[in-house]
Symmetry: C2
């Protein structure tokens, strides 16, 4: 039995290698450069091996997205818990979110821009995605204001952050005013 277990371990290890390599390559040269041929070469296996782990490239993107969701949730929670007061917690959350998007553009794309074959905002949504939204809700739900549904407020705030993140990174917004825009958003949206 231990032989099978070793093989299983090695197989799981190789799967992690695939995801990590895809992520690394995407961060270095963009997702367009993540082709199955290049990816296979980097992990020193042939192309078909990828398809014994994932249905296709889309699922690899999805795996990177799930990894990123967990990290994003962690970053948001860490930033929020290190801040004092509701207003400051929301500001810290916004900064952490935008910082994550700026520092991990490829992962952010996998999460919210590309098609990773994941279900969002549904019952069968993967746990890491639900948890990332929950991390936002924990902080933002407290500043929704009277009569405003916490979930709805979180969705709106998140949408606003997402818009700033993508437009800034795509060069649609001048990057030098990013912090002032964030501050404006926090001041106006959050009810403290």
């Amino acid at each position: 039995m231990s032989v099978q277990e070793r093989k299983q371990r090695e197989r799981a290890e190789r799967e992690r290698l695939i995801v990590a390599t895809a992520r690394e390559l995407a961060e270095q040269q963009g997702w367009d450069a993540v082709t199955t041929r290049r990816l296979a070469e980097r992990i020193e296996y042939s192309q078909p091996v990828l398809y014994s782990h994932f249905r296709g490239k889309r699922e690899i993107i999805g795996a990177v997205a799930l990894e990123g969701a967990a990290e994003l949730a962690g970053a948001v929670r860490a930033a929020a818990s290190a801040a004092d007061g509701p207003r400051e917690r929301v500001a810290a959350l916004a900064r952490a979110y935008l910082d994550f998007a700026a520092r991990n553009p490829a992962v952010y794309d996998a999460l919210f821009q590309l098609d990773g074959g994941l279900a969002y905002a549904r019952e069968d949504t993967p746990e890491p995605l639900k948890d990332a939204f929950a991390a936002l809700l924990e902080v933002l739900g407290g500043v929704a204001g009277d009569g405003v549904h916490p979930g709805l407020f979180t969705e709106t705030f998140w949408g606003a952050l997402h818009g700033l993140a993508t437009l800034t990174r795509a060069g649609r917004l001048p990057p030098e005013d990013a912090e002032r825009r964030t501050a404006l958003l926090v001041d106006r949206l959050a009810v403290v």
Copy 2:
């Protein structure tokens, strides 16, 4: 001389046909389906003809984007001018913007999601893009609030709208609450 003029006209007409066909195909089947081969077949010319008008696929996307920018600016101005009072004008703008994104997803993608090779937020930004931003600024600049730069406020509001538009259309946000999220955004961000 008139022969040359006729040829120029026909050439310009064919260029419009290419852009219109690309847009139509993209709205029908998504940008992935807009391949140079399919596009060439639809306009009943061979592939290389496309390259005598545009440097490549990217420039075709850019042309669709510019067309869309003009329409978006028009839609926003029309909606705003038909509304009474600053608060209602902002709400009408937001509805018009999101409506445009929902009704013309491919064009919206060409504008803000895909790479059309256009320069944004710079001096050499094409006029239609500047004008679309100007259309937002005309309305939103008036509700920025004291001490807040109108341009910065417009950028922030636009970013928020963009986030809601993309997340909703990508299935990241439940569509049924779209209007409530928009209303929340308008109420909190606009100072009337």
